[in-house]
Symmetry: C2
Subunit: 249 residues, 2 copies
DNA sequence: GGCGGACCTTGATCCGCATCAAATAGGGTT
DNA sequence: AACCCTATTTGATGCGGATCAAGGTCCGCC
């Protein structure tokens, strides 16, 4: 299944782009946007398909416009670890690097705003706003990776699940500011197996701990994927993190 | 012991600086170096002392000139996870952020080349070479963090130890190109406890696995800290990584 | 409306690593 | 040389999560 899906989607105008203010182009002036408008092309990848394989030649970089993708590493014997969750506005690929370092897989259908690497690198050299924004985003990702290292190295299975849930809730909240106070609700964008790959667990352990949190009333399940959080502070207590706002958000 | 050691050391000229070609200033022209020369001040921190505490106000950024420091996160109940190992030329602090996100601790005596944050940020805005280099370094650190996520999430204790040893060997090799082929030798720069914090293990498990690798002839110990690797490929097999050059670097 | 397959849950058992507890080895100091 | 302090090793035991093994549920499809 290494076939590249090259489904090309009609471009949105940068001005109307939903990720305009968070993506790598966030700091660009309107003349810079016009230039990007000329370089970019959209590409849509169906759910479940791999966008790039680790080690593959990669001649483009991209921003996630919509959908969710994952970055994963795999060992020879098949053990896999997710090392990043890519959400709308996140950046894929690395300027200055020819091969992909990780597998990039679409979890849901994903739309990418792509740039051929060479023209993008050229423009980056001329446009400090892009490099600056990319630096900010990379520093944020580094913080997220380090927070994840604490989770992987030191948290219990239950704490890991609770932490993942809070992260998903916070993301949803930041996108569609929902009514505070009321119970939070959302759909899990990940299968149990993907959660396990993210958390350094097996899918059986994930399933058991989700059930345990349900039994203890921390979460309410409707179906397999729909979750309600009756009391967010209660969930926070389960993460093992500092109760107050110790975490960077 | 929260006292800041403010020992100030006489500055080296940038031109003579041992990290000149790897640090954040690597791409600077000589006029830019002169400006940095005017901003910088050296500071030396004794082994074991904490440079900054997570959450502290941090009004400077710095490059490690010599010595080794660690970045660690701590949970309320005392569980700790090292999230970075800082070697000469590595960068400390984040432009645009007021508080430290992690504890920074000197493992050996450390000399820092510091810049007050505001003047550094100003210069960064005017000097694309600095921002570009910082972006490269940050992307490298992100890769390292993600490799570490795989280790923390999926590797066994023995594989973790073997991986740490190969990383230390590679670093030594990259600094002082030593005779290939011959047995590799080095001193561990970390205590068993620090290794445990890095690897997401307990110090007892670290000690046991080091002993096991010694029993199996993978490593030879002289004293507690001095290690000889009779056969580097043998050590590589123990890491669980792709046998060939699958790894970056 | 029955069937196949993906996803999920639950149970039983095992094992790797944590935990608790001593003992030993250096290294520096007096 | 005797002593102390810290780093390290080693042993005994227990637990958390992996592994192995059945089911169960939902959904699209014929």
């Amino acid at each position: 299944m290494r076939a590249h899906s090259l489904a090309t989607t009609p471009n949105l105008k940068c001005e109307d782009c939903p990720i305009r203010h968070r993506a790598v182009c966030a700091k660009c002036e309107s003349d810079e946007l016009r230039e990007l408008d000329g370089l970019k092309y959209y590409r849509t990848v169906p759910a479940g398909q791999t966008v790039v394989w680790s080690g593959d030649e990669m001649d483009f970089v991209a921003s996630i416009v919509s959908g969710i993708a994952t970055l994963t590493q795999t060992m020879e014997d098949g053990r896999t670890q997710m090392v990043g969750l890519l959400l709308p506005s996140d950046f894929v690929g690395r300027p200055g690097r020819a091969q992909a370092a990780y597998d990039v897989t679409a979890t849901t259908e994903v739309t990418l705003c792509c740039f051929r690497k060479r023209p993008f690198e050229d423009m980056m050299r001329r446009t400090p706003n892009i490099g600056q924004r990319l630096l900010e985003m990379t520093l944020d990702e580094l913080d997220a990776a380090r927070e994840w290292m604490l989770l992987l190295g030191r948290k219990t299975a239950r704490e890991k699940i609770a932490t993942l849930l809070t992260i998903i809730v916070r993301r949803d909240a930041s996108l569609q500011l929902m009514g505070r106070d009321g119970p939070l609700e959302f759909d899990l964008p990940l299968t149990r197996e993907a959660m396990a790959d993210y958390l350094g667990l097996t899918l059986e352990t994930v399933s058991r701990q989700v059930s345990a949190l349900r039994r203890d009333g921390v979460i309410v399940l409707k179906g397999k994927r729909h979750i309600t959080i009756p009391d967010f502070d209660r969930l926070l207590e389960e993460t093992g993190d500092d109760a107050d706002g110790g975490m960077l958000t």
